[in-house]
């Protein structure tokens, strides 16, 4: 019973991290129909930005979330205006967008090697190793904060997409960009804003991840794969589905340790991905668009 409680807590907290990592990837795919391979690069960039602010100026990583997210939003908006909007739209642009954004990721990664070397870095705060007791288990303060971050992000995204004009415009563009042009919605601007938002979410995930793990310029590869699994499981383009899929993936990975060797547990997620692609190609929660 105690073990089940430990594992359940571990799964829920891990799900928070997975969801935060996946929101940005899902949002950009849902609206632009582009798989942003540079998501991994922005996760890494977010981690380094938070580390730099903390080690150089003593800024708490959770306070650093605001400037880092805003800077990443601007970087994403610029990236769209300078690069992504030149890609062909629709299926024809699929391969080109993968290659272009993969290239951007490689440039970012090598820039990080030049700037920060390949050494592992960590963000250590006074509460990095603090934990709160709960019925015999211990909850890491950092993990709780990351989980809270995931919930807040989900809530903000939900309100943005359902209660604001911008959100409605994003959903409309995701459904039919041509009709949006006819009714006067600035489609290009919506695309740029969405790309900026997705990029900002990637950097936010990177910074939150940096409070938990050590990282180097290679950081982001595994996180991108996990994000992809979560987004496909949840149904590409579904924010609430992304959060639920993150919970399912985390639970499957964590509870798998009861029946599998620990080194195989991370592979369970990929088995799940293959099963979902074969049995429900639209994802567990359907191919809904930003509902």
């Amino acid at each position: 019973m105690a073990q089940a409680l430990d594992l359940a807590v571990s799964a829920v907290l891990l799900a928070g991290l997975y969801a935060t990592m996946a929101y940005g990837l899902g949002l950009i795919y849902g609206v632009l129909r582009i798989v942003n391979l540079n998501h991994g690069g922005m996760i890494m960039a977010g981690a380094y930005a938070g580390w730099w602010l903390h080690s150089s100026y003593g800024v708490d990583p959770y306070l650093a979330l605001v400037p880092v997210t805003l800077a990443a939003f601007a970087a994403g908006w610029l990236m769209y205006r300078l690069l992504v909007r030149r890609l062909p739209r629709g299926a024809a642009g699929g391969v080109q967008s993968l290659l272009l954004l993969f290239g951007v990721w490689l440039v970012l990664r090598n820039a990080a090697y030049l700037l920060f070397t390949g050494n592992d870095q960590t963000v250590r705060t006074s509460y990095s190793t603090h934990a709160l007791p709960l019925m015999g288990a211990f909850l890491s303060v950092n993990r709780l904060l990351v989980f809270a971050g995931a919930l807040v992000t989900l809530l903000v995204l939900h309100i943005l997409l359902t209660r604001t004009y911008l959100g409605k415009a994003i959903r409309a563009v995701a459904q039919n960009p041509d009709s949006c042009t006819l009714v006067g919605i600035p489609v290009e601007r919506i695309y740029a804003l969405t790309f900026g938002l997705g990029t900002a979410l990637a950097a936010l995930a990177g910074l939150l991840g940096a409070t938990l793990f050590s990282f180097n310029p290679g950081f982001g590869s595994t996180e991108l794969l996990k994000s992809f699994v979560v987004v496909v499981l949840g149904g590409l383009g579904s924010v609430a589905g992304t959060a639920l899929a993150a919970l399912i993936l985390a639970a499957v990975e964590v509870f798998a340790i009861l029946v599998l060797p620990a080194y195989l547990t991370s592979a369970v997620g990929f088995v799940l991905l293959v099963l979902v692609l074969v049995l429900r190609p639209g994802g567990l929660f359907g191919q809904r668009v930003l509902a």
Binding site: S10, L13, G40, A91, N119, D120, F213, N216, P281
Partner: protein
């Protein structure tokens, strides 16, 4: 359908980015590179090496670089290596293998066939050495490595491979000997419950074998309650540590590389775990770990290593430690000592061979028996162990004052060590 295609394409690109690959199987030995690699009169002896200067092993790769560079500088200051009555300088061509097996192997091929180096020094980490040594063997180039301690590397019958790291099985065996001494002194219970957790590599398997063998030889003294492996460069050890917690172990033994040690120990501390005795194999005393975790969270951790600066207060060891301090302004760790000694072993073999002929240098390495800075004071590559050096490990334990004195073996110990961990009773 479109999602499926996109997914496949995505996975292919990301996997390419991750650059993971498995070691190549050795092919039938070809003719190899030219057996003789003579240098023109006065020309430098060209030695090639790769190290993980970027990627997950970059920090340790940097340490190995320091050891190599110190050895080359020291020998060049003396005028170089004496070959056939003539002193020849040594030149190191060092490349970054990015901590990946495929790159380590392909760069070794480039060093031999494009850069035309005469001899090779090894990279760091067992899985990289395992892949790279295949290339040296195929090309008949003497390959001296101090970065791979897994027994599996030396069980393949390779003739051109020489290893300075004593087998990892002895590493965990040395920790168990100290644990046994604590049990004999009634500081930990008998039988003691052990949780052994190891990275899923040849290195980790040897570590586990060392613990299991010792436990079986001391029947009734130890119960292995948990025996689990984990993926290298893991991110979340929460579930694994939950299992450790439920095992009720007294002794927690892990074999991990530095990044995994830091990640796992951080989660270990936040989960409120504490064991009477704890070790991360060869990791534990690194300054980066204390910086990343806080010194209070690494105290009393045991580490079993191939070298410790406290070993020698005279002779070769002191000379090395003094020179290292003079150049880098800090004390060396085992990483720099082993890499320094790796380069030195190759230099001594070239001198002994009196020639740059690869066959002769290989023979000189096979019969080498010289004074060494390594524990035991002697270095050789016995054929019986697949040309892997055999010598005792030293076990050290982090203390609250930031030092890591040697606690085992008894004859080298500078402290008795502390068991059980006093923090567990707080």
């Amino acid at each position: 359908m479109r999602t499926c295609k996109l997914s496949l394409l995505f996975c292919a690109v990301v996997l390419a980015a991750c650059k993971q690959s498995s070691p190549q199987a050795p092919e039938q030995p070809p003719g190899g590179a030219p057996a003789a690699a003579p240098a023109a009169t006065g020309e430098a002896i060209s030695i090639g090496a790769t190290l993980p200067l970027t990627g997950s092993e970059s920090r340790i790769g940097g340490f190995y670089k320091e050891g190599y560079e110190l050895a080359f500088e020291e020998w060049n200051k003396k005028g170089g290596i004496s070959v056939g009555g003539q002193k020849l300088p040594v030149k190191l061509t060092l490349l970054d293998d990015t901590s990946t097996q495929a790159t380590a192997a392909s760069l070794a091929d480039r060093l031999i066939n494009s850069d035309k180096v005469q001899f090779l020094l090894g990279t760091y980490a067992s899985h990289l050495v395992e892949a790279q040594s295949v290339v040296a063997e195929q090309n008949h180039v003497p390959y001296v490595q101090g970065g791979g301690g897994a027994v599996e590397i030396h069980k393949r019958g390779f003739k051109w491979l020489f290893g300075l790291l004593a087998p990892v099985q002895l590493l965990s065996g040395a920790i168990m000997e100290w644990v046994d001494a604590q049990q004999a002194a009634r500081k930990i219970p008998r039988p003691a419950k052990i949780a052994v957790v190891w990275e899923n590599t040849a290195h980790g398997k040897d570590f586990r074998a060392g613990v299991k063998d010792f436990s079986e030889q001391h029947k009734g003294g130890y119960w292995i309650m948990m025996d689990e492996s984990f993926e290298l460069n893991g991110k979340d050890f929460g579930a694994l540590l939950g299992k450790v917690k439920n095992s009720g172990a007294d002794v927690f033994l892990v074999d991990a590389h530095l990044p995994d040690y830091i990640t796992m120990q951080r989660q270990y501390v936040t989960l409120g775990l504490c064991h009477k005795i704890q070790s991360y194999g060869a990791r534990g005393s690194e300054k980066q770990a204390a910086d990343a975790l806080g010194p209070e969270h690494v105290r009393y951790i045991l580490s079993s290593v191939w070298w410790n600066a406290q070993l020698g207060t005279a002779g070769l060891t002191k000379d090395f430690a003094d020179e290292f301090k003079a150049r880098y302004g800090r004390s060396p760790e085992w990483y720099q000592a082993v890499s320094y000694e790796t380069a030195r072993a190759l230099f001594l073999a070239i001198e002994k061979a009196g020639s740059l002929d690869r066959d002769k240098v290989r023979e000189a390495l096979a019969s080498l028996n010289v004074d060494s800075i390594l524990p035991g004071g002697k270095l050789s590559f016995p054929a019986s162990s697949g040309q892997q050096a055999i010598y005792p490990f030293v076990v050290q334990q982090n203390q609250p004052d930031g030092t890591s004195p040697i606690v085992w073996p008894k004859e080298s110990a500078t402290s008795a060590g502390v068991a059980p961990n006093p923090d567990c009773s707080k």
